[in-house]
Amino acid sequence: MRNKKEQGAFHLMLLPGMLLLAVFSFLPMFGIVMAFQNFVPAKGMFRSPWVGLEHFKFMFSLPDSSQIFANTLIIALLLNEIRVAPVKKAVQTIVYLPHFLSWVVLSTVVINMFSYEGPINQLVTLLGGKPVLFLASNTWFRPVVIATDVWKEFGYNSIIYLAALTGVDPGLYEAASIDGASRWKQTLHITLPSLLPTLLLMSILNMGSILSAGFDQIYNLYNPLVYETGDIIDTYVYRVGLVQRQYSLGTAVGLLKSAVSFILIVGSNTLANRFAKIRVF
């Protein structure tokens, strides 16, 4: 009796969340059929003509499609590679700050810094170089995107590692220094191994969003001049699908992205579980 009441309470608590997920997460998944149709809004999902894999074929026949996937992956991987280790508490507040500001705000800061006569170009001129139009140059766009993302997130990313470090037994360091281990040796043999589980955990969690590669950032920084090196899946879906109203093509591109990220995250979780006995779910 008491147990039944308890189960009822649990189900009731979950009900509102589940309803919202059903409508706004699971219902859209049915919309994926649009990727295999020639979707006409007036006819709806049931009467639009089927076209099979045509949109996918079209997608790969576009000269820029492989470029978009490559851009996404390159930017994502580079972003993922650069993670800076812990920072002391006194400066924490400052370095966390950019994480909490939106790219709308920060893009203005970045555009200002990298503008033709902005501080960065003033520095370049001072050092004897010629000013560069950074955000309109296919050579410079990616480095700027990566550098500014690191700038925004490194402080925040360090929180997690910092927390993992405080969990390390101080006795280990004491024992090591009595045995004559230098500071560098201590980092190498105590700090790094202790961080390994956290590092794995973070990279698995990052896998899921890897192909989202900073839509907000790129959308606010790019322009047609740098589509060649800056266009990623999400910005492309937005332009083609919603601005140009090609719903089916946009959905097809989006579906490919979802499927790839799903495989990446489930795969890395399984691998981490098998080899390091760590799992997120």
């Binding site: 509102p16 706004f24 998944m29 709308v104 705000v105 309109a136 322009n223 946009g250």
Partner: protein, 293 residues
Amino acid sequence: MITSKSFGSRAASVAVWAAVLGMACLCLLPLLNMVALSFSSSAAATGNLVGLVPVDFTAESYSRLITDQQFWRSFGISVLRVALGASLNVCLTVLTAYPLSKPKSRFPAQPVYMKIVLFAMLFSGGTIPTFLVVKNTGLLNSLFALILPTAVPIFNVIILMNFFKGTPEALEDAAIIDGAGQWQMLLKIFLPISLPALATVGLFSIVGHWNDYFQALLYIQSTENYPLQTYIQQLTVDLSTVTDPERLKELSRISGRTFNAAKIVASTVPLLCIYPFLQKYFVTGITIGSVKG
């Protein structure tokens, strides 16, 4: 920590501190530049004379901002959105996380719900199908279009769930013996001890709603109903329609800069006000929630 006095170790400390301070400066300087810009005369801004200190100090941009009606309208919409959206987020996070934190022995359906939640986190229909759902449910152009689709923040649910899992079992057993039901348990025992975790997920929700511009770009069609970030985004990124490099150079030089800087600074102030209060919680909150999971 151990204090060792060798020269190498001392040099290492100096190097570490220099690096850390350098990074802090790197974070702060571009933001200070923006503040300085907002207090400078537009002639100085156009001539790129502004560094970290305002040139020809003037509050002209701010007095212009006070009379900008759309700014205040959008500001109000954002405040309302944060108030409604973040409280809904926190409520749903708590309600969803609590049953999910129970072991299978206590709540046999837990694994099923967990799978549903994880699947929703990992896989999505994508931007366009979601847009069509919002359109067909008649939410387009209403504030609810900005609140309901993101009402269950799954990442936050997982943080809080792990936090709940870490609470000592004895606490729960004692309450059950005293005859507490699950609702009472949640409200009277679990919520009061999860304050750091709640502050963390609350901060994430507030920041998320305040900073988001894209949902409104998708779901709100009349410019005058834009929340603040979308309004600012529309002002600053005119660049995306420009294809001529010469024109781009020219645009990056125009003098609306001080005014835009003032808008950016003003839109950031509310976040800066709540940030210090919640910051002391979130380091504990996020680490207990995510690392020890």
